[in-house]
Structure formats: structure tokens, C-alpha cells
Amino acid sequence: MSFRIAASPLDPAALKASLADAHAGACVTFEGWVRDHNDGRPVQALDYEAYGALAEKEGARIVAETLAKFPVTRVVCVHRTGSLKIGDLAVWIGVASAHRGAAFDACRYLIDEVKARVPIWKKEHYADGATEWINCATRGEFSDR
């Protein structure tokens, strides 16, 4: 039942073990991996930055909403900050429940809400040396490309 921002690499096996529960028959996990492209542009690395205090507060609210909306037994979400390279784990979400439908729905709800609401930002580093803060482009007046 937790949301956490982490500055160092995540340990998915340990996180999943924390969901163990004799009442649970289903476990759905979501992992966000750093991929080598975005919108057709080759990506070499990412920086994630968070407003830690408010991110953890908002994340805890999303977890509480999830527990209220879906019949799930346990929920864990951890999001990385710092410099990540291709293949690194940026976010880990795990949900356990008696039946699988709730685990899928709750896991999907969590990642959708986290992406939309939690104050975390992502800067992409491209193969050509340019960088960009995702979702922060403004047409014409400024570009960090």
C-alpha cells in the first residue's frame, strides 16, 4: 500500500515479494522501461526529476483511490529519479488481488493516473545531442533542440 520515489535502481523481485498474500490469486505488474525511441526519434538516455514531497503525496492519493475503486489486496508503486539509460526500469507497479480482472484494472488505473498527475518530469537525450523536456515544448518561441 505504498507509493515511493527512488533515486537508486529498483529491485522488482523484492517489490513483488512485498505483494505476497495467501488470499491473492492474481498479480499484475507494470514496468516502464527506457526505450530507444520516442515519436520516431532515437533516444540515448533519460533524466527523471520529481518534486519529491508532492509526488509522494499525490502518489499516495492515487494508491488510496485504487484501493477504494478495485477489490485488490495489495498495491505498490515506485518511480525512479535520476539518469537512466536504455533498458533501465523507470517505474514499477504491482497489484495483487483474489481475481485477475481487478488486478489488471487497478494496475492500469495506477499507471494512467501516475503519468497524468504525479509531478515527475522526463528529459530525453537524443542521438544527435539534443535534449527535450517531454510535454514542455512550446511552438516557435523556444526550443532546446
Binding site: K115, I120, K122
Partner: protein, 80 residues
């Protein structure tokens, strides 16, 4: 005149060149403060694309301010 602490993250931190500052302003709310800072530091994001947080919690625009408040302007998020 009030004294405020402002923290900057992500694109705003880079455009400001620092992560935080303490400043004095006559701005009555966070929206007015942002416009003041935008003119001064060349922030590219319009206020309509930001959210505000005051004293560690989201605050609806225009987000009234009082002396001693801690203010954060929140660019469009991109977690996950």
C-alpha cells in the same frame, strides 16, 4: 510586499538556472508571480500549461499568496 520561497523543477529549473530562490514581490497570487518571473527569466511555458503548488499542496489558479509561502510552478508532468 511579501517574501516568498520559490522552487523550480525540470524545464523551469534549467531556464532559471537555479533550483530555488527567496524573493520579494507585490504579486497577490501565484499566477501574477509567474507572469512577473516569466518576463524576467524568459520562461517559455505559458501559465495555462502549469499547475501551482503552495506550501507543498496543489493550489487552484490564481492561487493567492501570503508572506512566507513556498511556491512551486509545475510544468506538464511526464512520469512513467
Amino acid at each position: 510586499m511579501k517574501t516568498l520561497r520559490v522552487q523550480y523543477f525540470a524545464i523551469l529549473r534549467e531556464q532559471r538556472g537555479q533550483a530555488e530562490e527567496t524573493l520579494s514581490t507585490t504579486a497577490g497570487d501565484a499566477a501574477a508571480l509567474y507572469e512577473e518571473l516569466r518576463a524576467k527569466h524568459g520562461f517559455t511555458l505559458p501559465v495555462a500549461r502549469l499547475r501551482a503548488a503552495v506550501n507543498g499542496e496543489f493550489a487552484a489558479w490564481p492561487a493567492p499568496l501570503k508572506d512566507g509561502d513556498e511556491v512551486v510552478f509545475i510544468p506538464p508532468v511526464a512520469g512513467g
